[in-house]
């Protein structure tokens, strides 16, 4: 067993375990922490695959940004100590059945496929190349998506503000408490 294989097993066990814990844990904050573990382990996989840039992004944006956002919102909306009621066995059973069925079908299909390994040399993944690609407007350049995502982020920001901002004087905060 090579070091790579050991690493892979380690990460994958972590990912699977914490994923399952994320979706089953009965304490919400713990779930968030498990999610963090999953995301961190995933970034480990990226490192393993030699995509350091993305791994870094994963760590900062995903693990750092989104999880923190989630934890904030948990704090806003939930009691930390609150434990969820356990799920109806029927619901979890049927869901598990469907999900496991789906997973099996998908995995079987994947295993059925013969992937042809690339014979071409791997491109070097460095910041220079990434930066160039992101600003390149020609074939295989990502300038346009880059611009579009900025619009998307602005829109999301506006959207979040529209929903979340307190109403002004003429708004209907008076109605807020009325359910």
């Amino acid at each position: 067993m090579t070091a790579n294989q050991i690493m892979f097993i380690l990460f994958s066990v972590m990912i699977v375990t914490f994923s399952i814990l994320t979706v089953t844990s009965r304490k919400i904050l713990r779930a968030a922490v498990y999610l963090l573990f999953v995301l961190v382990s995933t970034s480990g996989l990226y490192f393993m695959l030699n995509y350091q840039f993305l791994a870094a992004i994963q760590l900062t944006l995903y693990a750092g940004g989104i999880v923190v956002l989630i934890i904030f919102s948990i704090l806003l909306t939930s009691h930390i100590s609150q434990k969820f009621e356990s799920i109806e066995w029927k619901k979890s059973f049927f869901t598990a059945l469907a999900v496991i069925g789906g997973a099996i079908v998908t995995i079987v299909t994947i295993l059925d496929h013969r992937f042809a390994a690339s014979k071409q040399a791997a491109a070097e993944v460095n910041m220079r190349f990434i930066g160039k690609s992101l600003l390149w407007t020609g074939f295989e350049g990502y300038a346009l998506p880059f611009e579009v995502i900025s619009v998307l982020l602005i829109a999301a920001m506006v959207a979040a503000i529209v929903i979340a901002k307190k109403s002004g004087p003429s708004g209907s905060d008076s109605q807020t408490l009325k359910k």
């Binding site: 469907a98 999900v99 079908v105 299909t109």
Partner: protein, 639 residues
């Protein structure tokens, strides 16, 4: 050759009269309408006589007998290249004879009605309908093809319907008219099917082609068969079914007695003299086909005729409504004519039955119209139809009495009166062909004499009845037709029918067969004597006789329960067991299915509403299941 094309006016004049009187009658007023109608008929009668004269005496014969002449013909409706409905005028001995009968009787009835119907509501309407009837009947008579005959056949049916139901506010009249139309319509169904079968095999409607011995109808006899009879025979049986209906033969006779609900002149015209003999005329018209291509059908005709005549005569003996007695008598006499046709052969002396039938048709028209008109005069005088309300009327109604007596003598076959000659020819023809039927007819002859004189004695003799107001003789407009018809009833027996109206158009020699005539006269006289004994004075003899044959009398009095049988079939079977179930089936099964489709949709819609539970996770579950399902379906099952 004489040009007969003017004969189309025979049809046009009454049609015009119908429209004028029907559309503008209420503007013209009763008096003018009546006169207009009657004068129209006068012209027609004149035309008929002219035509008859020139046909029988104006055409050169050259030993070939009378030929059928197509006097007028236009295509009315083209159906197939070789099948088309024409409207035209065919003149041959029987149609010309019928023209005389129809126009004369109709004319008489018109004149009679001027007086009889005076003051009735709907006087104009009455004359309009009479014109319609005359038009239809003449059209039927002169029809050169079987389809025209069918058309006018239907038209006389509707005229009959309208005239029977003339007193439309009287429920019994309404019911009777309806019954008459539907029963004959049912028979006409057979007629139509017969026509269709006939035309399918012969590709023609034309009478001349049909009756041509070398034509398709007769020469093709050996063709297709069905149940042992040739298709032509079947078609002729079906055609005869129409005749049975219109001529009130058993078992379609039930409408005729009820039809007496109509005004009496109508009974005289339609239900005695003209329309009801249409069946006889139809058979006579197609006689060569019957004789040569379908003898079996002819047998049926003979037996149906004989049975009907006996059956009706028996019933007639028990009825008390004078018009009903006359109606059954009519049925009986038509049975005679049918029988005569049924036992007749073709050509020369073999065709004696044919000639006798036509002869009897002619004389019967005279005396039966006379009887009905006489009865009308009586009813007019006493305001009752029942002979129990009458008696001793000879003092009050002398002219009616005499004319009525002449008619009775004539129908009873007393020598020298018209009925004697014609009936004797029939008996002679029957004697030659079928002894059994001959015996039946002898019995009928006796019964006829009995019930006619039962009628006569009960009305004019018998007990002295008290009337609300003294009966008085009818006005001139009514008595003149009586007198004219009485002349006819007395004298027409001397017309040499064997020279004029024969099965093949050629004259033949025939003599009175005394061997047949004498016994029949004796039987007739016997009947008269019995009637005289029972009814000339008021006595309890009739009741005693009736109770002696209680069961038979009861059955005969109730017309052998034929009406009840029909009622059962129509009300119970058709209405209760067919129509109502059909209506129910339609509402609940057929329509129910359609509604059920709608209901099932609604119910399904309600049942599946749980899918839309409002739960996001349930939505997502369906979503994921959908994906997995599609993957399994498309990747693994259905490739």
């Amino acid at each position: 050759m004489i040009n007969f094309s003017y004969s189309i006016w025979l049809l046009l004049i009454p049609l015009m009269m119908f429209f004028i009187l029907g559309l503008a009658g209420h503007k013209l007023g009763p008096r003018l309408s009546g006169l207009l109608g009657t004068s129209g008929l006068a012209i027609i009668t004149m035309l008929s006589f002219i035509i008859a004269y020139s046909y029988f005496f104006g055409t050169p014969k050259n030993g070939e007998g009378f030929k059928a002449i197509i006097a007028y013909n236009i295509t009315w409706l083209q159906l197939i290249d070789n099948l088309h409905i024409d409207i035209g005028v065919l003149l041959d001995p029987i149609s010309v004879m019928m023209l005389i009968v129809v126009s004369t009787v109709s004319f008489m009835v018109h004149i009679y009605s001027l007086g009889y119907m005076k003051g009735e509501r709907g006087y104009e309407r009455f004359f309009a309908f009479l014109s319609l009837f005359t038009f239809s009947m003449l059209g039927l008579v002169v029809a050169p093809n079987i389809f025209q005959m069918y058309i006018f056949w239907e038209l006389v049916g509707i005229s009959s319907y309208l005239l029977i139901g003339f007193y439309y506010q009287k429920p019994s009249a309404v019911a009777a008219s309806k019954k008459a139309f539907i029963v004959t319509r049912f028979a006409d169904l057979g007629f139509l099917i017969g026509i269709l079968i006939l035309s399918f095999y012969t590709k023609t409607f034309d009478f001349i082609t049909l009756t041509d011995p070398s034509g398709p109808a007769i020469a093709k006899t050996g063709g297709a068969t069905f149940m042992g009879l040739s298709v032509i025979t079947w078609s002729m049986i079906f055609v005869y079914m129409g005749g049975v209906g219109k001529s009130a033969m058993f078992p379609f006779h039930i409408w005729l007695p009820d039809a007496m609900e109509g005004p009496t002149p109508v009974s005289a015209l339609i239900h005695a003299a003209t329309m009801v003999v249409a069946g006889v005329y139809l058979v006579a018209r197609l006689f060569p086909v019957y004789v040569m291509a379908s003898p079996q059908a002819l047998h049926i005709i003979a037996y149906v005729g004989a049975f009907s005549s006996l059956f009706a005569a028996v019933i007639a003996c028990t009825q008390t409504d004078i018009k009903r007695v006359l109606a059954y008598s009519t049925m009986s006499q038509i049975g005679y004519m049918m029988l005569a046709l049924g036992v007749s052969g073709y050509g020369g002396h073999n065709g004696l039955g044919f000639m006798a039938s036509m002869f009897h048709l002619f004389t019967h028209a005279m005396f039966k119209a006379l009887l009905f008109l006489g009865a009308g005069a009586i009813i007019h005088a006493v305001h009752s139809n029942f002979m129990t309300d009458m008696g001793g009327l000879r003092k009050y109604l002398p002219i009616t009495h005499i004319t009525f007596l002449i008619a009775c003598l004539s129908i009873a076959g007393v020598p020298l009166f018209a009925g004697f000659f014609s009936k004797d020819e029939i008996l002679a023809a029957a004697f030659e062909h079928n002894k059994f039927l001959f015996a039946v007819e002898y019995a009928v002859a006796g019964l006829t004499a009995f019930y006619m004189f039962r009628l006569y004695f009960s009305i004019f003799w018998g007990k002295e009845t008290q009337y609300h107001h003294t009966p008085h003789e009818a006005p001139l407009t009514m008595t003149i037709p009586l007198i004219i018809l009485a002349l006819g009833a007395a004298l027409t027996g001397f017309i040499p029918f064997n020279k004029l109206v024969t099965s093949d158009g050629l004259p033949f020699e025939s003599h009175l067969d005394w061997g047949v005539a004498v016994p029949s006269v004796i039987i007739g006289l016997l009947g008269i004597t019995v009637a005289w004994a029972m009814y000339s004075k008021s006595s309890n003899l009739p009741d005693r006789v009736a109770s002696a044959f209680r069961l038979g009398y009861k059955w005969a009095y109730n017309k052998f329960y034929m009406d009840e049988l029909y009622l059962f079939i129509t009300k119970k079977i058709i209405f209760r067991y067919i129509s109502e179930p059909v209506a129910w089936f339609d509402r609940h099964i057929v329509d129910g299915t359609m509604n059920a489709i709608a209901t099932v949709t609604q119910v399904t819609s309600f049942r599946i509403r749980k899918f839309q539970s409002g739960q996001i996770q349930q939505y997502a579950f369906v979503y994921i299941s959908g994906v997995i399902f599609l993957v399994i379906l498309l990747v693994y099952i259905w490739r």
